[in-house]
Amino acid sequence: MSVEIVDSAIDQQAIVAGIKAGGDGAVCVFDGIVRDNTRGRKTVHLDYEAYREMALEQMTRLAAEAVEKYAVRDVAVVHRLGRLYVGETSVLIVVASAHRAAAFDACRWLIDTLKKTVPIWKRETFADGVVWADGEPFPEHLAARPQGAQG
């Protein structure tokens, strides 16, 4: 398993080439890239930040869980932080497996779960303003649900 948080471009070719082994029949790649707009607003760039130590721990746990849950042979999960421009890869997930169904399923589960649970945030700079992106609501068992703050 290869799990990384990086501050520069993700070398997709090297990661995909590096994961392949003789027993694999499929390598499924999810390449998450910066889109040129959000809901029609023109995106200039994104700035990703993380609770780095926790994010790495969470990603490592997800990778191990994916291997066990879907019985795939190996996975790589890499997330980039810092400033990214349109078309650049922010997250790369690669799953190697003997059979494609498990590879697809594990890849989908990894990105969906990462987006809900791994403490990484992005600030979007548009042509006409800057916002923190709306996050995915935390799964029920992770949310704190504090009382108060009525105003």
């Binding site: 926790m54 997330h79 809900k116 945030w121 995915e136 649900r145 108060g148």
Partner: protein, 98 residues
Amino acid sequence: MRVKLLSFGVLKDLLRVGTEEIEVPAGSTVADVLQIVEQRTSNHRMNHEVWHSLAVAVNREYSSVGVVLRDGDEIALLPPVSGGAIKDGAACGRNHER
């Protein structure tokens, strides 16, 4: 006892907490720390939705508000995460089910 307090993303802007240490009574819980933070920021316009959608990590593990803290613990206030690619869909607000 002293605990370390961190916040991220939009909460870092709203709470004006980056990384700091605060003094809390022995036996304090996560809820007690949240109350301290809330009181301190009550003069600001606290975004109700953000406050109610946060998660808390104690020593880098997601924790519930009832967890009792120990000296030196690291408490992180986490807004809903937004790693990966930008989410699809046209919904503008958060998708709360409550």
